[in-house]
Symmetry: C2
Subunit: 671 residues, 2 copies
């Protein structure tokens, strides 16, 4: 992609001028459009505006800023709608106080209906809109085109479906970030289409760059966390991160995050720009140096938990694909299935039933409480219960130890979360894992504090540890381990604005990742990719490490349409008409097809091939013996160019992204 | 680089076993070494240890951890020595209180001698050790080998020279981070050599990966800032960041940063792991939303200041290279020149002379004071001067407005800094710019607070702004703009542990970068690269944008040594002996040199070429029409492989990193 830019930047002036005059003449000469004169004037004004804007910086920067602002607005809008819907549910539930049966109906049917609506809606409008979308985004970022996943209907279905899913609340316990990254790529691709006509000569690479930027903006505008957005964008790339995308990513992510936080200020929710889950850890002595060992242990614990979760998830993915009842149900009755699962999950969390032991009334997707820096146990010991806010009461009834509800919560949420992952609705799977990790970290810390404060040993300093820090580290470690990424470490810090625990959080995340990655285990998204048979090379490699070493030669099908040097006008015309490629290779002769170069179909028709000037040399060639991985790497390096596969100088095939997509789909089918 | 790893990971087991048995037999049969039996036993123990370690994770992870720990230790050791040397100077200066002449001698000669020593020392031991080292590291990271810059003597000279430079203190006003990144790459390259024998089958890519990791560790262990270390490592790459380096970078950076902070704890300086320049900004309301505009303005101000600084720096670089007096002096009398410049700088900052107006007694390389969250002006207004620590007094004498010393400091330090950059000593240029930016931000904020508090307008909220936040933003913005990077934004946050200002800091850094990068201006390191004629493609491209589009064909010199398919044993032996390449290309015949593949010299001698199995196909080919930039990109993708340049199937040349280095050096000479 870098090549494209450089080649084209050589004569931006000329291209610009050419296009401007082209617009004008096309407008004035277009006979069937009404009000030609006013339209031309408006257009001229727009062109002047574009010149003014373009003089300051390239038009693509405006599109990045627009992407950030639009996504921040969507994120704010979604948060607002979800809050309203959740409050409505809560209001209804409170109004029915006293009548358990009606309360149960309200508690269970509301999320069940919402999930059923989300599911049927997204299934009927655009079936590609279900799930997280991150596996598809990863595939698109690796260079494969998947137009279904970037359509306008998909965006519409995903946005509304996601609101419904999130409004189902903490009973269904699903998140926002994955679909938001997907939404961001859709908005990005639309904006890049919108800005392409005014970008003059950067068509080819604009779309690819926009997707990378959009991935960063998705995370940044969802949480107001620009730096972790950029790191996420780096991590989500398949093998190489092009440095040309670095500054655009930062710029767009900063726009998105700042605007998102500004919306909160403008709406009057907050006085200034602050972290999403603001915490108040003590800054004087955030933790004792020896606590590092506890954090390391927590990291390993989270790694083990992630392995458990991932294997359950893989099992249920396999189960839903092989069990005939499931297959039939998911094929025809998506809405019914979603409603049933949501009903089941909601019944379990009903506050008068098992829900009372797992704090189901707390809106768990905002883990403020878990990140609280005070020890819950000591809060109760000090008998200051009546001073505490009500939510804390949810987590512990006075008298019973504080870690019992936490442990019960963790035990139940594990299977509930795995079950919720099968729901065919637009939903994110990152935030639930983040919260689960926070609960795990909190339990760890409360447990340690309990053991030391009850006088088992004489470690007084251990009794006063800050459980909020452990919750933070646990959240980052578990979500990092499940997704095989490190950006959650930074995300945890950006979400809470708490930098004092940066070191331990990073340590826990690294250790959890090490455990989760050992033994070639696939990540959460890898498993989804493989299960969906997406043409994503890194996932395929993880599932079957020897696959990408297959030689590319064995996938090259029929010989491509080619021209010989001495081709006459008739042959050229025929080739141009039948070829679907953007380039037609030129060879010595059909008998000895030594590759000479290629011609562009549009410019060829006028000339004779012997005019050497119009035959361009192919700069990078592949041999049929090169592996799929090498071909993929070279292809992502050269961007949209066509790669020629030659053996001993003779042309044996072409390789473009669409061929690569077919090859990878073939490979995915073999797993 | 990724390719290598995958190809070789196919049979790690076999390679491992082979090598183990090979060690044993070689040891036992070696006749001239004494104590064969004990040595063999020890070696066997070591091998068992290696197996145990290797069972947990790859040996390379131990080398990354070792790199982090070693660098953290060196960083701590350096800080300790520099602090001692600075205290000695301060002690001497205080003892001479009352005698201005002696004080002047002490104040000026101490840094002059240190600089002279640093300069002569580094010049005599290893002339490559002067300067920052970051331009060279960037060149090495882009794939070019520069063994002089990784030698042990260089490490020795750089380490000791840097201690001397830093001990010269705030009069010379130079930093630590650049040389530290360079030191880190040297240590990394030694560690990778040390670990290579036990790494079995990952020789090729180990060195390259180690350099990338080392760049991250350099920053991380210098400041205890792991995330900005990784971002620096991403930014410093020439065009693509390979994702395989991402986790190693994070791991090693975390090791380095944690160990560095732990050393501070163990030495008793601090109670726990905290940020290097700890600040205490108010968390309730860090800034008003409208202050964003002030931060944006500060970003633009820093961008303008960076342009000014960079053009001065380019001018003096040009001047020292063209002025005959300078050339002669820098060629022969490096020590004298350094001493003279240091003497001049020290005389200017003498506290009884101009130094009293620019707080020269404050140790400026630790900008605690500039980042203070209280307004200096209000401190004096409140007449609580006697309660303040002495350093604050340095910045302002009661009665005079607080911004005068700051403005004088900024004015003087600009030319002093540019002059200091010409010193031929090992020194970093990042931290001075960071501090300069902090002073600029502070001046901006104090100015705003002064204007509003003196009743010009009625903006009461503006009068209570926190100047520390502006100093932070200014530091990040100016250092980011000068180096054309964004990681300083995160570095500023990690250095101070202050997350509340993340948004404004990022905004200011982005705007400053936008201004500094506009109009194809080279960055600080680009200018150094071009001035030193380093074979670094991105710098060359910035200096002369059309250069890298030159076709690679015109640089291909003599025909490479090649074998024809029907070559006999004598011809093969001759080719193997004369060729300096690691691969020898095989062609059809010398008359029609159609490329068939290549052979490895070592394995070839035994066999006849007709045995097809030993001729390996070349997977990626280049045409002579491909540009230097394309060739560079493909070369960095395939790692250490040799690229074959063919035209119509005929071999016309070879391309390896050493050829690429020659090409880039040729290009650099043309500028």
């Amino acid at each position: 992609m870098t090549f494209e830019r450089d080649r084209e930047s050589k004569n931006p002036e000329r291209g610009n001028r050419y296009e401007t005059s082209h617009y004008k003449s096309a407008l004035l000469s277009d006979p069937w459009k009404p009000c030609r004169r006013p339209r031309a004037i408006v257009k001229e004004w727009l062109l002047t505006l574009r010149c003014c804007l373009g003089a300051m910086c390239g038009m693509e920067w405006y599109s990045y800023a627009a992407l950030g602002i639009v996504m921040a607005f969507l994120s704010f809008l979604m948060d607002l709608s979800v809050t309203k819907l959740l409050s409505a549910h809560q209001w209804l539930y409170m109004k029915l106080e006293g009548n358990s049966l009606l309360q149960f109906v309200c508690w269970t049917l509301y999320p069940a209906c919402l999930c059923a609506v989300a599911s049927s809606f997204s299934h009927n409008i655009c079936p590609f809109s279900t799930g997280s979308g991150i596996p598809e985004v990863r595939t698109m970022l690796s260079g494969i085109e998947m137009p279904h996943y970037l359509s306008l209907t998909n965006m519409f279905a995903k946005f509304l479906g996601l609101i419904c899913t999130l409004a189902a609340g903490s009973t269904v316990f699903l998140g926002k970030v994955g679909p938001f990254v997907h939404l961001s790529t859709m908005v990005g691709s639309y904006l890049s289409k919108f800005f392409t006509p005014v970008q003059a000569n950067k068509k080819d690479k604009a779309a690819g760059e926009m997707l990378v930027v959009a991935a960063a903006v998705g995370v940044a505008s969802c949480f107001g966390a620009p730096v972790s957005g950029v790191l996420f964008s780096v991590e989500v790339m398949s093998s190489h991160f092009a440095l040309t995308h670095y500054v655009p990513c930062f710029f767009a992510a900063a726009c998105g995050a700042l605007t998102f936080r500004l919306f909160t200020v403008w709406s009057g929710d907050e006085e200034t720009l602050q972290a999403l889950f603001k915490t108040n850890f003590p800054t004087a002595l955030p933790f004792y140096p020896l606590e590092i060992l506890l954090f390391a242990f927590l990291g390993l614990l989270c790694g083990a938990a992630s392995c458990c979760y991932l294997s359950c998830h893989r099992w249920i993915l396999q189960f839903t694909k092989t069990n005939p009842v499931f297959i039939k149900m998911l094929a025809t009755e998506k809405g019914l299935y979603s409603g049933m699962v949501a009903f089941l999950l909601a019944s379990v969390t009903f506050p008068n039933f098992a829900g009372q032991y797992m704090a189901s009334k707390v809106r768990i997707t905002t883990p403020h409480l878990l990140l609280d820096s005070r020890q819950w146990s000591s809060q109760f010991h000090n008998a200051s219960v009546h001073l505490e806010p009500e939510p804390l009461l949810e987590w512990s009834s006075p008298g019973s130890p504080v870690y019992l509800p936490l442990a019960f919560f963790l035990l139940m949420k594990m299977w509930m979360l795995v079950l919720a992952c099968t729901l065919p609705v637009p939903a994110g799977y990152f935030m639930p894992v983040f919260v689960y990790g926070a609960a795990l970290g909190r339990l760890h810390a409360e447990g340690v504090a309990y053991v030391f404060s009850s006088g088992v040993t004489s470690g007084q300093q251990w009794a006063s540890i800050n459980p909020g820090g452990y919750a933070l580290a646990g959240a980052a470690a578990l979500s990092g381990a499940v997704t095989h990424t490190l950006s959650p470490a930074l995300l945890a810090i950006e979400l809470t604005g708490q930098f004092s625990h940066a070191g331990p959080v990073l340590l826990a995340t690294l250790l959890a990742n090490a455990l989760a990655r050992s033994g070639h285990r696939p990540s959460f998204y890898d498993a989804l990719s493989v299960s969906k048979r997406l043409p994503h090379l890194p996932s395929l490699k993880r599932a079957c490490p020897q696959l990408p070493s297959v030689a590319v030669g064995q996938f090259l099908g029929v010989k491509p349409i080619q021209l010989q040097k001495a081709a006459g006008p008739a042959e050229i015309e025929h080739a141009v008409k039948t070829s679907s490629q953007t380039q037609i290779p030129v060879v010595d002769s059909h008998e000895s097809p030594i590759l000479l170069g290629f011609v562009l179909p549009i410019r060829t028709l006028e000339k004779h091939l012997d005019e050497v000037c119009c035959v361009r040399p192919a700069s990078v060639l592949l041999s049929p013996h090169s592996t799929v991985q090498e071909a993929h790497g070279v292809l992502s390096l050269v961007g949209d160019q066509t790669l020629y596969v030659t053996e001993r100088g003779r042309l044996v095939g072409l390789l473009t992204w669409s061929e690569m997509k077919k090859i990878l789909e073939d490979l995915a089918r073999e797993i």
